[in-house]
Amino acid sequence: MNTAMDDGRQESPGEQTLSFPPVTDDDLTGAPQTAGGAPRPPHDPADPAPRHPPEPDPDRPEARAPRPEPGLAGAGSREAGPASPSLFDSRAPFEEPPARRPSLFEKPAVLRRPPEAGRPEPGHRPPPGFDEPERPSERPSLFVRPAALGGPDARTAPRAEAAAEPEPQNPPLSSDSSATARPTRPSTTPDTPEAASTGTPATPEEPDAEASPGPAHSAVSEPEAATEPESEGAPESEGAPEAEGASEADSAPEAEGAPEPASAPVSEPASVAVPEPVTEPAPGDVAEPGAAAESEAVAEAAEVRAEADTTAEIAADEADLDAEVRTDAGAETDAGSDTDTGTETDAGSDTETDSDTDAGTDTETDSDTDAEAETAAEQAGTEVEKPGAEPGTEAEAEVGPGERLEELPAEAAEALMEAIGTLREAVADLSFGLDLPGSEEARQARADLLAQLENYVLPRVRTRTAPALIVIAGSTGAGKSTLVNSLAEKNVSRTGVRRPTTGTPVLVCHPDDHEWFAKGDLLSGLERLDRPAPAPATSGTGGLVITATEKLPQGVALLDTPDIDSVVEEHHEVAHRMLDAADLWIFVTTAARYADAPAWNLLRLAKERGARLAIVLSRVQQKSADVVLKHFVRMLTEYGLGDIDRFVVHESKVADGRLPDDEMTDLRMWLAELSVDEKRRAQAVRETLNGVLNSFRTRVPALARHLEAHVAFRAELRGDVEAAFLSALSEIDKASKNGSLLHGEVLARWQDFAGSGDLVRSLQLRKRGRAARQAPERVLAFKAAIRTGLESVIVAAATRACEEVVARWRHRAELGAKLGADLDRPSDNLVRHTGRAIASWQEHLGELVRTEGVAKRSVSKLVSFDPESLALIFMVAMFSGGNGEGVPHRLVNALLGAESLRGIGAKAFSDLRARIGMLFDEEAMRYVQVLDAAGIPDESVATRLYQATYNLEVVR
C-alpha cells in the first residue's frame, strides 16, 4: 500500500479529484503485495484497510486499538510521549533500518499530498493537458514490479517489522474501535511521536535525505520518525520538542474535539503505515518555534514540495480536508491535522470522518501550514541532528535539510553515484525495436533520460557545490537572447527579427566559473564553441557557446536556449536538453504569447520535474500591463504556479540587442541574491536535482512499462503464431482420423487396388511362395495418392495457419500487418519438405510393418504378404478411422494381430505427427525470426530498469 502511495505522489502533481480513481487502483494492486508477506498480520491492519474494504473490518479494531492506547497513555502526560518511545526501545533497534526504507517510499506520498491538494481549487484544475488518466496505470507498476522482482523482500520485511512494533503498543488500547474516535486520536498521537521522531531519529536516516530532495525532507523525516521513535526512543531530544509540539498539537486536536493529544506519541508508533503523518505533525510542532526564522525558505520548500508531490490520493484529499478543518484552529494545528490525515489514510481508515470541511476554502492556509510544517521539520531536523546522531548510525546521512548537500557522506554519495550509474546503463541498454504506438515518444524519452543523466545528474551529484545553471527558455521571439544580453550587459547572444533567432545555446557566466563550465561534466555531450555556428538553423544541435562576463554575479550562469515552439524542430530538442540540465529555469514568455499551448506544456514539464522556476513576462505594453499581468497571474494560479517568482519586462526600445537597465533591476537583484546566498542557491540546486531524481520514479518505470508493452506485444504475436499452428496441427489430426483423407484420388486408388484384385493377390499362401509383385505400378500409384492426399492436407492447413497468423497480427496492430507483410503464405519449401517428410514417413511405416508386424504365428505359417501393400492397407485403415469394422481394419488385424497393430498404429501416428510438427516448426520459425529481427529486448531489461530505479530510491 505504501508503495502505491508513493507512486501516486510522484505522478499527479495537480489534482486531487483526478487522482481519486487512481488511488483505488493502487489500493487494489497494493493489496496483493501486502498480502504476500508472512509477517504482515500486524501491519496489515494499517495497509490493507484502505485498500480492501473487506479486510479492514477485521483488522481495524486492532489497528485502531493500538493508537488509542498510546493516546490514553499519552494523555496522562505529554512526557508520556517520550516515554512511549522507550517502549519501543525494548525492541531491537537493528531491525528497524530495513523497515524504514520501504516506509520512506510510501510515506512521502501522503505527506505531500495535503499541500498540493490545498492549492488547486477544485474548480480550477489546470485545463491544459494534465494526463490524469495515465496516472492510475503508472502508479501500480513502479512499486509493484520492483517488489515482484526481488525488491519485495526488503519491503515486506520492513513492513513486517514495522507492523510488529506498533502492536506491542496497541494491546493496551483495544477499546477504541470506532472510526470517529480514531481520526482525532491519530492526529494527536502523531504529534508527539513526531516530535520525538523529528527530534532524534528523523534526521539521521539516510533514506529521508535521498527520498525527499527539497520538499521531501519532511516526508523523509517522518518515516524515520516513525521507526526511530520506536527503536531508539529518541528520548533525549524528544523531551523538549515534544513538549512544545505536544502543546501545539493539543490545541489542534482540541479544536477538533479530540481529547487524546497526549496519547498521540504512543499511537504514532502503533500505526505503522502512519510514519508520514507522524513526521509531519512533529515538524509542525517543533517547527513553530523555529518556523518564524526560516519562514521564507520554508515557504519555498513547501512550494517545491507541493509541486513535487504529484499523487492526488484519497489520503491526500482527506488530509487536506482535515488540514482545512484544523487550519481554523491554527497553523500549528494544521500541521497536526496533516499528520492525522496521514495516519488515517495509512491505517486504511475511512476518509469520511474527517472530511466535513469544504475543500475550497483552505487551500491557502494549507500551504501555509505546510510551509510551517516544513520549516519546523527542517529546524527540528537540524536541531535534532545532534541527538539523532548518537542514536542512528544512519543519522548522519539524514543531516539537516539545509546542510544535507554538503554533508552527504562520501559513501552515500558514492552509493548514489553507483545507483545512478546503474540506472544510466540500464537506460542505455534500452531499445525499442517495434514501431508500436508510443514508441517514438518512448525513444525520445529514453534519449532525454540518458542525456539528462549524463549531462546533468551525474555531474551534479558528483559536485553539488558547482555554480548554478540558470536556463532561460521560452517561445521564439519572446526575447530570451535580449534578456541574456541585457543581464550580461554584453552582446553574447544574437538577437534579431528573424524567427527563430538563436540556434546554438549560449552560456554566460562569471569568469571565475568559466572553467567549471568549459571543462566540467555538465552538458558534456555538447561541443564547446567560441561563437555560434554560422548557420544557426541547421547546426544548432551539437554545440554550446560559453562566454564569461564580470557583470554576472558569481555562482550563477545563464544559458540562452533555442526556442521551444518555432518551425525548426531541432531547436525544441536542444532547448529541452538544456532544460534537463538546468538547476533553475527562467521561463520567458510575452504578452502576446502567454496563452500559447507550447508555453504551458513547458510549464507543466517544469512542474512535473519539480524544477525551480521563475517566469519572465516580457514585451508587456505599459498601457495594458495591468490587465495582462492580472490575467496571466490568474492563469498561473489556476495552474498551481501562482506563487512562483515573476518578473515583468515592459515593451521598450531595444537598443543594440539589450533592454534598458531599469527593466532589468528586479532580475538582477534576484540573481545577485542567488549568488550571495549560497545556502539558498544550494537549496535551489538541490531541489531541482531532487525533482529530477523524483521524476525518475515515473519516467523510468514509464519506459520500462513501454518496454514491457513491447515484450508483451511480442509475446502476443508469438502466441498467435503458436495458436495458429497448433490449431492447424489439430486440424490435421482430425482429418487423419475422420476419414476425410480417403477422398478423391486416394479413394479411387483404393478402389482400384481392391477391385482389381491386387489386394487379394498381395496375400499369398506361403506354400506357393510366389513373389507378390504383380502390379507394382498400381501399388505405387496408390502410395503416391496417399502421399499427395496427406501433403495437400498439410499444405492446406499450413496455408490456413499462415493466413490466420497474419490476420491476427493485422488485427492486433498496424505494426503487426507490417511485420507479417510477406508471411501470409507458407514458405516455398513447404511443399517440397512436406513431400519428403511424408515419403519418409511411408518408408518408416513400411519398415515398421516389416520389422514389428511379425504376423501371428498361426497366420505366418499359412500366408505371406507383401509388406509394401500391407503398409498401404494399414494406412487406409489408419486414416479411415472409425471403429475398426472396415475391411482394411479386419485385414490388418487378422494378419498382424491386435497387439502389434496397436503398437504400429501408435508409432505411426506419433511419427507422423512429429514430422508434421517439425514442418510446422520450420514454418513458425519464419515468424519468430521476423519478430526477433525486430530487435525487441527481453524482459530482463525492464526488470533491470525497475531494479535500478528501486535501488536509486533506496540509496537516496
Binding site: P127, P128, G129, S475, T476, G477, A478, V497, R498, R499, D565, S566, V567, V568, E569, A591, A592, R593, Y594, A595, D596, A597, S624, V627, V628, A735, S740, L741, H743, G744, E745, V746, L747, A748, R749, W750, Q751, D752, A754, G755, S756, L759, Q764, L765, R778, A785, T788, G789, S792, V795, A796, T799, A817, A821, R825, L862, V863, V887, L891, A894
Partner: protein, 541 residues
C-alpha cells in the same frame, strides 16, 4: 494558380470519380482516409450547392497576431472585440458584403447569428469590389484554449480562401507551419499570408522579415507564397490585402480552386496509400488458362484420372468373371484361398464390394486448388486487394467439395455394373461348355457302346463320325478360349472408351461448378479492383 482548369477536367468528373472511390473503398482503404474522402465529398457537394456568388475568406492565425484587428480594419467597423488578454476571440465572427444568398452559407459554416454582420450596401465606402465576400475572424489555433476547441481547425477546412495572419513574433511558429502550412501545400491559389503588426518593425527589418518568411514558405512547399505586410494599427497594407481579397472575390473561383486543391491533396494521399503500380494491368476477368488450371487442379482433387483408371482395371478384372473362359477360372478356384485359410471368407466378399461407385472431392486439395488460383490472379495487387481476392475465392470453399462430389456422383461409373452383353457372352461360354460336355458324351457313347444304342440314335454310335466329333470338341474349346480373350479385349476397349467419355464429362462438370462457385465471386472482386483503380486514375488525371 498553378492548378488551372485548362489542364484539368472539371471538378464534376473528378468528384464523381471520388464518389466511386468512396463507394468501393470500404474494407480496402484505410478508414481515416476513407473518412477524409467522404468528408471532402460531402463538403464539395455542400459548398457547390451553396452560393457561388460568395467567397468565404477566413482570417486564421495564432493568438495575438491581430486577426480581429485586421478583421475590423477590413470591415471598417469595430465588429470583433480586440484585446490584450490572450486568447481574445473564442467565437468566429463573420462579416458579409452583399447579404442576399449568404444565409445558407453562413448556416453551413455554423456561424452563430449574433456574430454575423453585414455590409449591406455594395457602394458603401467604395467597397463594391468586395461584394460577395464573407470574411471570417477565426479563434486562434495555438493557445491552450485551442487544445480543446477545434473551431478554427474546422473553418480553416471550410473556408474558400484562408488569410494567415502572422506577426513578427510568431511568424515562424511550429503550430502554424507544421500543422497547417505544410499540410496545405498546393493551396497557393487560395492561401494568403498577411504579415501583421508591421508597424513594430523598421523598414529594413520588415524587408528582411518578408524575405525570410518567403523562404520559409517556399521551403515548406508553397510555391508562390503571396505575402502581404499589413498593420491593423496604422492601416498600412490593409488596402493591398483588400485588393488581394477583392481579386479572389471578383473571380468567384476561390471555392472551386479550394476544392480542387483539396482534391489534389487527397488524391496524392490516396495514391500513396494505394499506389497505382500495375494495378490496372491486373485482368478484371479470369482468363481461360487460369480456368483450365483450376479445373485441372479440382479434377485432381476429385481424382478424375484415378477414377478412370480404376474403372478400367476393375472392369477388366470383373469382366473376366463374366466373359472369360470358365475352365481356367475353375482351375484357379481349386487353388487354396489365402483369405479362406485366414477364415476371412466374408472379407473376400467385402473386398469385392469395395469397388462400387464413388467419387468424392478431397477438401484439402480443393482448398489448395482455389488458393493457387487466387495466388496467381492477385499477383501484383496491393495486400488488401490480394486478401480480398482470396476471400472471394474462398467465399464458398466450404460447400465446394460437397458440391463437386454431388455433381460428379451423377456421372460416376458404377464399378459393379454388369453390361448385358457380358451376360450374353456368359451364356455363350456356358453353351460352349455344354457343347463340349455333350461332345464328350458323344465320344464316350460312340466309343464304349456302339451297339447298344437304339436305332434312332445309331448315328451316335457311328464311329465314322467320331473323329469329327473330336474335332468339334477341340474347336469348341478353342472357340471358348478365343471368345474369352476377345471379349476381354472388347471389355477393355469399351472401358477405355468409357473412361475417355467419363473424364470429359467430369471435367465439364467440374468446370461448371468451379465457374459458379469460385470464378464468379473472384471476378466480381477483380471487377471491383479494376473499377477502383480506374476511378483513382480518373481522379488524378
Amino acid at each position: 494558380m498553378t492548378t488551372t482548369t485548362t489542364t484539368r477536367p472539371g471538378l464534376a468528373p473528378r468528384l464523381t470519380a471520388l464518389s466511386k472511390v468512396v463507394e468501393l473503398g470500404p474494407g480496402r482503404l484505410d478508414n481515416k482516409l476513407l473518412n477524409e474522402a467522404n468528408a471532402l465529398l460531402k463538403r464539395a457537394g455542400a459548398r457547390l450547392k451553396l452560393s457561388s456568388e460568395h467567397t468565404v475568406v477566413a482570417l486564421a492565425g495564432g493568438t495575438g497576431s491581430g486577426k480581429s484587428s485586421l478583421f475590423n480594419a477590413i470591415s471598417g467597423l469595430d465588429l470583433s472585440p480586440t484585446g490584450v488578454r490572450r486568447p481574445t476571440t473564442a467565437r468566429t465572427h463573420a462579416c458579409v458584403w452583399g447579404l442576399e444568398g449568404a444565409g445558407p452559407l453562413l448556416d453551413w459554416l455554423q456561424i452563430q447569428e449574433r456574430h454575423r454582420f453585414s455590409r449591406a450596401s455594395a457602394l458603401d465606402k467604395g467597397d463594391g469590389q468586395l461584394h460577395g465576400l464573407i470574411l471570417l475572424d477565426l479563434p486562434d489555433h495555438d493557445s491552450i484554449r485551442a487544445l480543446t476547441d477545434t473551431e478554427a481547425d474546422r473553418l480553416i477546412g471550410l473556408a474558400d480562401l484562408v488569410v494567415w495572419v502572422l506577426d513578427p513574433q510568431k511568424y515562424a511558429d511550429a503550430s502554424t507551419h507544421r500543422r497547417y502550412v505544410t499540410e496545405l501545400a498546393g493551396h497557393d491559389a487560395v492561401t494568403v499570408f498577411a504579415l501583421n503588426q508591421a508597424d513594430r518593425l523598421t523598414t529594413e527589418e520588415l524587408a528582411e522579415l518578408v524575405i525570410d518568411l518567403n523562404d520559409l514558405l517556399r521551403r515548406e512547399g508553397v510555391e508562390h507564397p503571396s505575402v502581404v505586410p499589413t498593420s491593423a494599427a496604422t492601416g498600412r497594407g490593409i488596402e493591398s490585402l483588400k485588393s488581394v481579397i477583392a481579386t479572389a472575390v471578383a473571380r468567384r473561383r476561390a471555392a472551386i480552386q479550394k476544392l480542387e486543391a483539396d482534391l489534389h491533396r487527397l488524391e496524392q494521399k490516396l495514391s500513396k496509400a494505394m499506389p497505382m503500380g500495375e494495378a490496372l494491368s491486373v485482368p478484371s476477368t479470369v482468363d481461360e488458362a487460369r480456368r483450365m488450371g483450376l479445373t485441372d487442379a479440382l479434377c485432381d482433387a476429385v481424382g478424375v484420372p484415378a477414377v478412370g483408371e480404376a474403372m478400367e482395371n476393375v472392369y477388366a478384372e470383373r469382366s473376366s468373371r463374366w466373359v472369360g473362359w470358365p475352365y481356367p477360372r475353375w482351375i484357379d478356384k481349386l487353388r487354396p484361398d489365402p483369405l479362406k485359410s485366414l477364415r476371412l471368407d466374408d472379407v473376400g466378399q467385402e473386398i469385392r464390394g469395395i469397388a462400387t461407385t464413388s467419387v468424392s472431392a478431397q477438401s484439402a486439395e480443393v482448398a489448395n486448388a482455389v488458393q493457387a488460383m487466387a495466388d496467381g490472379l492477385s499477383m501484383g495487387m496491393q495486400p488488401v486487394w490480394r486478401a480480398a481476392v482470396h476471400q472471394a475465392a474462398r467465399s464458398r470453399a466450404k460447400q465446394l467439395p460437397q458440391a463437386l462430389t454431388e455433381d460428379l456422383a451423377e456421372v460416376a461409373p458404377a464399378l459393379d455394373r454388369v453390361p448385358g452383353w457380358w451376360r450374353a457372352l456368359k451364356v455363350w461360354q456356358y453353351f460352349l461348355v455344354v457343347a463340349f460336355v455333350a461332345g464328350l458324351a458323344w465320344l464316350a457313347v460312340g466309343l464304349l457302346m456302339p451297339g447298344a444304342l437304339p436305332s434312332s440314335l445309331a448315328l451316335l454310335g457311328d464311329t465314322a463320325t467320331l473323329p469329327w466329333v473330336g474335332l468339334m470338341m477341340v474347336s469348341v474349346l478353342g472357340l471358348g478360349a478365343l471368345s474369352g480373350i476377345a471379349s476381354r479385349n472388347f471389355v477393355e476397349l469399351g472401358a477405355s472408351r468409357e473412361r475417355e467419355r467419363l473424364e470429359r464429362e467430369m471435367r465439364r462438370r467440374v468446370a461448371a461448378v468451379a465457374a459458379t462457385m469460385v470464378v464468379e465471386p473472384v471476378e466480381r472482386e477483380l471487377g471491383r479492383h479494376h473499377a477502383f483503380y480506374t476511378a483513382l486514375r480518373d481522379l488524378s488525371v
